[in-house]
């Protein structure tokens, strides 16, 4: 007799605002206070442009986290995409049209491989994607011989670098912000409005029950990893576009993406997760970094703050969960 119907449900089900939005709002107010220029389009559009890769990455990561796993390989995947694009385009502007699909394919392929390793070799995703992280880094270097051989042509860099000018109201919109909106919209729709999303939740919540109910657990899990891989490839294309070729573009992005998803209330080990909230987490994280920059605080302080926020966010979530009895 451990099943306890909860009579206070009605109260608890009142629409609850995710704390990440409050955090984000507070941070933005603080940024505007520090730097009134932020309310100008240049201010907030630059902010969104900068946050776009991380936000997209978080939107992909939240699939894997909700399905009960981790994806540590996205950072190296970004590096691979940037280095690989420079190798393939090889200074040829017309190559972009096939290189970008190839990169998206690599993202999906890496995700599929991660998923297959987890599903069929039964290696926990933490280890599987850690191995993938190391491997992809090596592949990126091996492919390029340690330093990329080509420039990224402007056609490739279009997505990460260009703006649409003369837009009414906001003056200009960076292409990457449009990519952000489209990708996040798509990911959010898949997660919250389709069978796929329900199944991602179900297999993270209770894989045995999901399997016995007929859910194609492996297929769903592989798909979740593929979406994460896809988000890594898109983030890589944006980052390469924004900043050009380098060999360590992706370093550290995997942990930031997980942090963002966790800030957005995604439950580690699965069962709960929201794409918009994860994107909110990514924006909040970027806002924190921006704020610390404005305050003139050095890198070490940023690390400490990131660490504290990470622990506090999860501790708070656990506390709330205990209080509401769920």
């Amino acid at each position: 007799m451990t099943d306890r119907p909860d009579t206070q449900n009605a109260k608890r089900r009142l629409p609850q605002i995710n704390p990440v939005w409050i955090l984000l709002a507070a941070l933005i107010v603080a940024i505007i206070f520090m730097n009134p220029g932020f309310v100008e389009p240049t201010g907030y559009m630059n902010f969104l442009k900068r946050a776009a890769p991380l936000a997209i990455l978080a939107a992909g990561q939240v699939y894997v986290i909700t399905s009960g796993g981790f994806d540590l390989s996205v950072g190296s995947l970004i590096t691979l995409v940037v280095v690989g694009s420079s190798m393939l385009t090889n200074n040829d502007p017309t190559a972009t049209y096939w290189v970008i699909p190839v990169m998206l394919g690599i993202g999906l392929g890496v995700g599929a491989l991660n998923g297959l390793i987890v599903c069929f070799l039964r290696v926990p995703s933490l280890i599987a994607t850690l191995g993938m992280m190391i491997t992809l880094n090596g592949v990126a270097f091996l492919w390029s011989g340690g330093a990329p051989r080509g420039y990224l042509p402007d056609t490739f860099r279009f997505f990460g670098r260009e703006l649409i000018r003369d837009v009414p109201l906001v003056r200009f919109i960076p292409i990457s912000v449009i990519v952000l909106v489209v990708v996040v919209g798509l990911f959010a729709w898949l997660m919250h409005r389709t069978n796929l999303g329900r199944h991602v939740h179900a297999i993270g919540d209770n894989p045995v029950a999901a399997r016995l109910a007929g859910v194609a657990v492996n297929r769903v899990r592989v798909t979740a990893f593929m979406l994460s891989g896809l988000s890594g490839a898109i983030a890589g294309i944006l980052l390469g576009g924004f900043a050009g070729v380098s060999t360590d573009v992706g370093t550290g992005y995997e942990l930031q993406a997980i942090t963002a998803a966790v800030l957005g209330g995604a439950q580690l080990l699965g069962g709960r997760g929201s794409v918009p909230a994860a994107v909110g987490g990514a924006l909040a994280l970027t806002a924190i970094f921006t704020l610390l920059n404005f305050l003139g605080l050095p890198q070490p302080v940023r690390q400490v703050v990131q660490g504290l926020i990470l622990i506090a966010a999860v501790a708070l979530a656990m506390h709330r969960r205990k209080q509401t009895g769920t």
Partner: protein, 503 residues
């Protein structure tokens, strides 16, 4: 007569929405066996959990050795000399017998290290009380032992704490006849040593064989108290307290039984042997047997989770061989798992999502809520309404619902799939009495609509009352078959291979 070592008075316990116990009084004296009987959901487990400090009573008092106690934690009751042997084993499969026996209170040498030799010796000593002693090597890891031997280790663990009170919760569920006999001898030994024993069971034979007194719980209240073991009929009356015919749905009439849905011939795998089985449309086939007899293994083989590796299975006239649950579901088999929490529900998701889990699983992954071939949310809501599931909203997490309502949501999962064969495993476990009848009638309705139903249950009255036909399994084989109205005695006899059971 000695004073009671345990005395519980006026215990009331309410879970949100359910009154589990109301004003229950219960006692047990040193050197006696007080049998605590009642149907599933009558409140036996709750009472024991209050005694051991897992739950706290809303009102009422617990006295141990004459002193009022308030256990905040199971450890405190253990220290007070109360050892509970739960149905779910609390053994660590990776550790040895000796390590499990002395978990948390290992003997130490004067250097503070664990005294392995002493631990082993004492393990042997404790095990010597049991007939199984010879079979058990203290250094074997528990995971390597069979279920019956694990049960012995579990009991030995309680005994080795030097408990004054030992609570056994249906200890024979997993034992065969010879092992039962061993257990009874053990209980006798304990009683002779002045240990007070609370023995939870619903098998009449065990009551007659062991009990000094009997306390009957029904719907959270004490229905009867006997200072000597009465005639079995009196106990059953007190336990059920109503007309069985009303409680269970009426059996199938011959007209309602149709074509054979499922035929299994000579099938088996590592656990199952020579399985021959027929299930016809419109009938409910009960599958009885002790724990470990292979009933769940059979269900999982039919469902493709642990497939047969030889033999023939025919479903609706076509030969099939399901390699996984998805294939089985596509072929028209449905299954309600026995452990709702760990195998049935996705607890953090909504009631509706739980109900739609299977239908969505067979709709395209990319289909949205609005354009779902066979997973229309509106239809699911109608279905849930029809089943009278009580929930504040179908959007709320299913974990907040009562067991009965949770079970209905799982049934709803299968209704929209219209399976030809539906397997229920322990369909009413942990469900209050009132909801049980609902589940039985639901099963019958499904059968009337043309499904063949296979029901696995450890609750013998349930198997007898709800099924049209009862098959009995033992050691991975189907060993007997009974028509509707078989006695508990017959079934028990077949399930354990010998002995006799009163009912």
């Amino acid at each position: 007569m000695t004073d009671p070592v345990i005395e519980m008075r006026g215990i009331t316990k309410t879970f949100p929405g359910v009154r589990a116990l109301s004003d229950v009084s219960f006692d047990v004296r040193p050197g006696e066996v007080n049998a605590l009987v009642g149907e599933n959901g009558a409140g036996k487990s709750t009472l024991i959990k209050i005694l051991s400090g897992v739950y706290h009573a809303d009102s009422g008092a617990v006295h141990v050795g004459g002193e009022a106690v308030h256990f905040a934690h199971p450890v405190e009751s253990l220290r007070a000399g109360i050892a509970v042997i739960y149905q779910e084993f609390s053994l660590l499969p990776e550790r040895t017998v000796a390590q499990n026996l002395f978990l948390g209170r290992e003997p130490r040498t004067r250097f503070g290290l664990i005294d392995g030799a002493k631990m082993r010796a004492e393990t042997k000593e404790v095990l010597a009380l049991f007939a199984a002693a010879g079979r058990i090597d203290p250094d074997r890891t528990v995971g390597e032992l069979d279920v019956a031997t694990q049960q012995v280790v579990e009991i030995a663990k309680a005994v080795s704490t030097g408990a004054r009170v030992v609570v056994m919760d249906e200890p024979t569920a997993a034992l065969n006849e010879a092992e039962c006999e061993e257990l009874f001898t053990t209980v006798d030994t304990l009683r002779d040593r002045g240990v007070a024993i609370i023995y939870i069971t619903h098998r009449m034979r065990e009551i007659t064989r062991l009990a000094d007194r009997v306390t009957v719980l029904k719907d959270g209240e004490v229905a009867a108290r006997f200072d000597a073991v009465p005639a079995p009929d009196a106990i059953v009356r007190a336990m059920v307290g109503r007309d069985i015919e009303d409680f269970y749905a009426p059996p199938a009439t011959p007209e309602e039984i149709g074509e054979t849905v499922l035929t299994v011939r000579g099938a088996g795998n590592t656990v199952l042997h020579d399985i021959d089985l027929d299930v016809r449309a419109g009938e409910i086939v009960g599958l009885a047997g002790i724990q470990g007899a292979g009933r769940v293994a059979l269900a999982m083989a039919l469902f493709g989770e642990t497939p047969f590796d030889h033999g023939e299975v025919t479903l609706n006239g076509a030969a099939v061989s399901f390699r996984n649950p998805r294939a089985a579901i596509t072929g028209g088999v449905g299954l309600l798992p026995g452990d709702r929490k760990s195998e049935g529900l996705v607890l953090m998701q909504s009631v509706r999502d739980n109900g739609m889990l299977t239908s969505r699983a067979f709709a395209p992954l990319w289909a949205s809520d609005r354009r779902n071939a066979n997973a229309d949310t509106g239809r699911m809501d109608d279905l849930l309404d029809h089943m009278e599931i009580r929930a504040a909203s179908y959007d709320q997490d299913i974990r907040a619902l009562s067991g009965g309502n949770q079970q209905k949501a799982i049934v709803a999962r299968w209704l929209s799939m219209r399976p030809k064969l539906l397997i229920f495993i322990e369909p009413t476990r942990g469900i209050d009495v009132n909801s049980k009848a609902g589940i039985y009638h639901l099963m019958r309705d499904l059968a009337r609509e043309g499904a063949g139903i296979l029901m696995i249950s450890s609750d013998l009255p349930e198997v007898i009352g709800a099924a049209d036909r009862v098959l009995v399994m033992q050691e991975g084989r189907i060993t007997a078959e009974f028509g509707h109205g078989a006695s508990e005695q017959d079934i028990m006899h077949a399930a354990t291979g010998e002995g006799e059971v009163a009912a």
